[in-house]
Symmetry: C2
Subunit: 339 residues, 2 copies
């Protein structure tokens, strides 16, 4: 993992102390600008963000843990690529490109889109009965994620906003949270896309069963293989690749943060390159944020996934860096300091 | 005060229920888009924002209530108009114009800038001894604010982000908060731009003295005249003018929100046209937000004023409206709804 650039952090911190405002009065905007300096090595950083959305299906959806049918995963891909989804609108408004990865979506026609990045993975297996991915599938997914982050870095992006889509995927993400933090899986379950009470009971049962079946392992990537899924593994790879390639990674909601937390458990040196975009109302998300020591920039009760919350936070990162770059110092502006 | 457009609110609410996401999953972005529909009467609204920053000096600064010398107020005007200030950077990054109002700044040369909007007001008097403004000055300030909001509406802006600058002005704003809410003024005092313990003691004393001297009145605009200042009165006028002209108003921190709360006390029909951009760490600001029943969009520990926090919130308002306008419905996208 590439550490933050200490010299740029120091230069940006010094600069914040001289800008035309009482020290600290821009609050977390100051912290974000200094973080971006550390991420990029540039004391006057400009974010060049990329959204990566990984989508996959999950055998555990067959346990009735989601309010929506699994066919929705494939149907949403068109709305990610061609427009019409929340992330297409939120990224488009900010002129931010979106890469969409098929990390094991069921029922996609071959040659469906040239723009879709294909992993060749099958949908994740039902984690209440067997591991989500084979060892070979895990490797494919992690390598693809790493490769995409490296490609992003080579193309000049310095910030990845990671998101996901996959009917049923709050269940594996909640299981991974339980594995990482020792919390009881069933008590961490939330309503996801909006399941009813009976669905919640099925979800709690499925999560508890999966953790009981697979939880006894020490290795975070093995936990990811057993309890995760294709998009979780690709995103873990993207986060690891961001750390390797020396760029920053903005965590979205529960699923994206669970993938990132697994990556950080494998490589703790990743953590300084993470920022939490927002806080989701899913109970497991707050547990993960505490686990990672991240304080989210936004709390807007967003719970959609697709990188939507992190994409909104991107606007704050851009503004923080704009203020940092473009403000004058007291000396340059000819303004008196404290009396 | 122009009420929100109920038909546009209903149409936007219906649309949010059909867009390509679980209902409610964009959280407060949905609420903001519906609010902008109500503000503009357009079920598919596009924010056209304007920042108005009013600046003034205050006799109470002579009581040693600020960490900075009063000369800073005038010195900052150049950085608002020509660049170099936080608001110039934050608004500029969003291509949002900034109007700057001299609401009683000391020591400005005549003809100093063609762009500066001049009120002709003198600095506010020391509120620990006499009323801040004369009745005629109050009228000039309120009328100017109203006129600016009307001009903004005629120019096609549909959202005003109100901000201020004025060395010493957290003291009058805190006094107005005490007057509005019945809280003890000295207990509401915060560190402002960053005063030390001795300064805090002077500030508490000045606030208590001013409220004891002037607090016995029933009329919010008379309280504004006695305990306020030029920028507070201009901003109260801008908020009233926004309500009259049928546009929206984004509250910034303590001072801007105090001015708005006075306006809302005079005209409670203004409240539906307000949104709170952020929460400042100044204790009186949270008291005002509760008083107005507003839940701020951001909590980034910003405490600069200049409309800076509200300008950051503007990015969220734009993104909320972009998602609302540009997302497809489930039907249009050919995606299955809940099973």
């Amino acid at each position: 993992m590439t550490p933050l650039h200490a010299r740029a952090v120091a230069a940006a911190t010094d600069r914040q102390g001289t800008l035309l405002k009482p020290p600290g009065s821009l609050g977390r905007l100051e912290e974000i600008a200094i973080w971006m300096a550390g991420v990029t090595g540039d004391p006057l950083p400009t974010p060049r963000p990329l959204v990566i959305v990984a989508a996959a299906d999950h055998g555990v959806a067959g346990e009735g843990v989601s309010a929506y049918p699994p066919a929705v995963t494939a149907q949403m891909l068109a709305a990610f690529l061609g427009g019409g989804s929340a992330i297409a609108a939120l990224a488009g408004e900010q002129a931010c490109p979106v890469w969409v990865v098929d990390a094991g979506v069921a029922g996609l026609a071959d040659g469906w889109s040239d723009e879709l990045i294909r992993s060749g993975l099958a949908p994740a297996r039902n984690i209440t009965r067997e591991p989500a991915l084979s060892p070979a599938e895990l490797e494919v997914a992690l390598n693809l994620g790493r490769e995409l982050a490296g490609r992003a870095a080579r193309q000049g992006f310095n910030l990845i906003v990671g998101g996901e889509m996959g009917i049923g995927n709050t269940t594996p993400a909640t299981c991974l949270t339980a594995w990482l933090t020792g919390h009881d899986a069933s008590s961490l379950c939330g309503r996801g896309t909006g399941i009813d009470d009976a669905g919640m009971e099925r979800k709690r049962q499925a999560a508890a069963t999966a953790v009981a079946l697979h939880g006894a392992c020490d290795d975070p990537l093995e936990a990811l293989r057993r309890l995760g899924g294709g998009e979780l593994a690709v995103l873990a790879g993207v986060a690891l690749g961001a750390g390797e390639s020396g760029i920053g990674f903005v965590c979205d909601g529960l699923i994206a943060t669970a993938a990132t937390a697994i990556a950080a458990a494998a490589e703790p040196g990743l953590i300084p390159r993470l920022v939490a975009g927002h806080r989701s109302p899913e109970p497991a998300h707050s547990v993960l944020l505490d686990h990672l020591g991240l304080d989210p920039l936004l709390d807007l009760q967003m719970r959609l996934g697709e990188a939507s919350g992190a994409a909104v936070a991107l606007a704050l990162i851009r503004l923080a860096c704009a203020a940092h770059r473009e403000m004058k110092t007291f000396a340059d502006a000819g303004v008196a300091g404290p009396s």
